[in-house]
C-alpha cells in the first residue's frame, strides 16, 4: 500500500516535467525526421540517450555529416555537467544497491535533478521507488512525444518550405540563452562563437565545435 502510493506520488510530482517535455519532444521528433532519422531511430535514441540537448546535438551533427568520434566527444562534453548533478545527489542516495542506482542514474536529467535536489533541500526524504517513478514518468513522456513528433514530421513533404530547417538553430539559441545566467557565461559564449567562426578554415567539420568550446570554456575558467 505504502509502496503503491509512493509510485503514484512520483508520477504526480513528474507533471511539471511532463508539461515541459511534450512540446520539446514533439519538436525533436519533427526535426530528427526532417534530418533523415527514421521513427525507429528516434525511438532508440530517446530510450538510450534520454537527454534533450545531447539528442539535439547528436541529430544536428549526424545530419551535418559529422563522424563517429566527433559526435561521441561532443555528446560527452555536453553531458559532463551531469557529473556535478550526480555528485550532488550522491550523499542522499547512500545504502542503495548499485543496480538500482544505475537505473536511477540513467534517467537523471537537468529537470529531474532540479526536482530531486529541491526535495532534498526542503528536508524531504522521498523513497528511491518514488524518485524512480518520477524519473520513469518523465522518460515515458519524452519517448512518446519524440516518437509522435517523428510521425508528424513524416507527414510533412517539404520541411524547408515551412522554415523547419531553422528549427534546430533556433532550438540551440533557446538552449544557449538559458545558459547565459551571468556575465562570465556570456563571455564564454561570445568567445566560442568567435573561435568557431575564426577556426572554420583550419578544423574539419565538427571537431571545430569541440575545439572551440573547450578553449572558450578554459579561457574563462580562471577564478572570479
Amino acid at each position: 500500500m505504502k509502496h503503491t502510493s509512493a509510485l503514484l506520488s512520483g508520477c504526480i510530482r513528474a507533471a511539471p516535467i511532463v508539461l515541459g517535455y511534450v512540446p520539446i519532444g514533439l519538436a525533436f521528433g519533427v526535426l530528427a525526421r526532417s534530418s533523415g532519422l527514421t521513427t525507429g531511430a528516434v525511438l532508440g535514441m530517446s530510450l538510450m540517450l534520454y537527454a534533450g540537448s545531447a539528442q539535439f546535438l547528436a541529430v544536428g551533427m549526424i545530419a551535418g555529416g559529422a563522424g563517429f568520434l566527433p559526435i561521441t566527444i561532443a555528446t560527452f562534453f555536453i553531458n559532463l555537467r551531469h557529473l556535478l548533478m550526480s555528485a550532488a545527489l550522491a550523499p542522499h542516495l547512500r545504502g542503495h544497491p548499485l543496480r538500482k542506482l544505475a537505473f536511477f542514474a540513467h534517467e537523471l536529467t537537468d529537470e529531474s535533478f532540479a526536482l530531486h535536489s529541491t526535495a532534498f533541500q526542503k528536508g524531504l526524504c522521498p523513497s528511491l521507488g518514488e524518485m524512480v517513478s518520477l524519473n520513469a514518468t518523465a522518460q515515458i513522456a519524452w519517448v512518446a512525444s519524440t516518437v509522435a513528433g517523428s510521425l508528424i514530421g513524416g507527414a510533412i513533404p517539404d520541411p524547408a518550405a515551412l522554415g523547419l530547417d531553422f528549427a534546430l538553430p533556433a532550438m540551440f539559441i533557446g538552449l544557449l540563452s538559458g545558459r547565459l545566467t551571468d556575465r562570465r557565461q556570456s563571455l564564454v559564449a561570445l568567445t566560442a562563437v568567435i573561435l568557431a567562426v575564426a577556426g572554420c578554415w583550419i578544423l574539419p567539420g565538427n571537431w571545430l565545435v569541440v575545439a572551440a568550446a573547450s578553449v572558450a570554456a578554459a579561457a574563462w575558467a580562471v577564478k572570479a
Partner: protein, 109 residues
C-alpha cells in the same frame, strides 16, 4: 555519417553515445563517497554547456564546409530568435518565432 539513418545503422553510434551519457550520470553516484573535483576543473565544466551551444549555433548559421558563409535570412532569424529567447525564456516561443522569422525573411529577400 553516411547512408540512411535507421536504428540498426545508428546502433553502434547510439551505444557509444549511451556510454558517454550514462557514465557522467552514474559514476559520481556510484562512488558515493565525497567526490571533490579540483576547482579549476569545476569552473571549466560549468562553462562547457554555454561554450558548446554557442560554438554549435555559430557553426550551424555561419559556417559551411571549411569557410564562413553569409546567409542573411538565417542571421536575421537568429537575431529574432535570440531576442525572443532573452525576453520570454521560452524554448517553444523561441523555436516558433525563429521559424516564422526565417519564412518571412525568405519571402522578403
Amino acid at each position: 555519417m553516411k547512408g540512411s539513418f535507421t536504428f540498426p545503422n545508428l546502433l553502434p553510434l547510439y551505444l557509444a553515445l549511451f556510454a558517454v551519457t550514462f557514465i557522467p550520470r552514474f559514476l559520481p553516484m556510484a562512488v558515493l563517497t565525497r567526490f571533490n573535483l579540483p576547482g579549476w576543473f569545476q569552473r571549466w565544466l560549468a562553462n562547457i554547456p554555454a561554450a558548446i551551444l554557442a560554438a554549435l549555433t555559430a557553426q550551424t548559421i555561419l559556417v559551411h564546409g571549411k569557410a564562413t558563409v553569409f546567409r542573411p535570412d538565417q542571421i536575421a532569424a537568429a537575431v529574432v530568435a535570440g531576442v525572443i529567447a532573452w525576453r520570454t525564456k521560452s524554448l517553444f516561443l523561441t523555436v516558433a518565432g525563429g521559424i516564422v522569422a526565417v519564412v518571412v525573411m525568405r519571402a522578403v529577400i
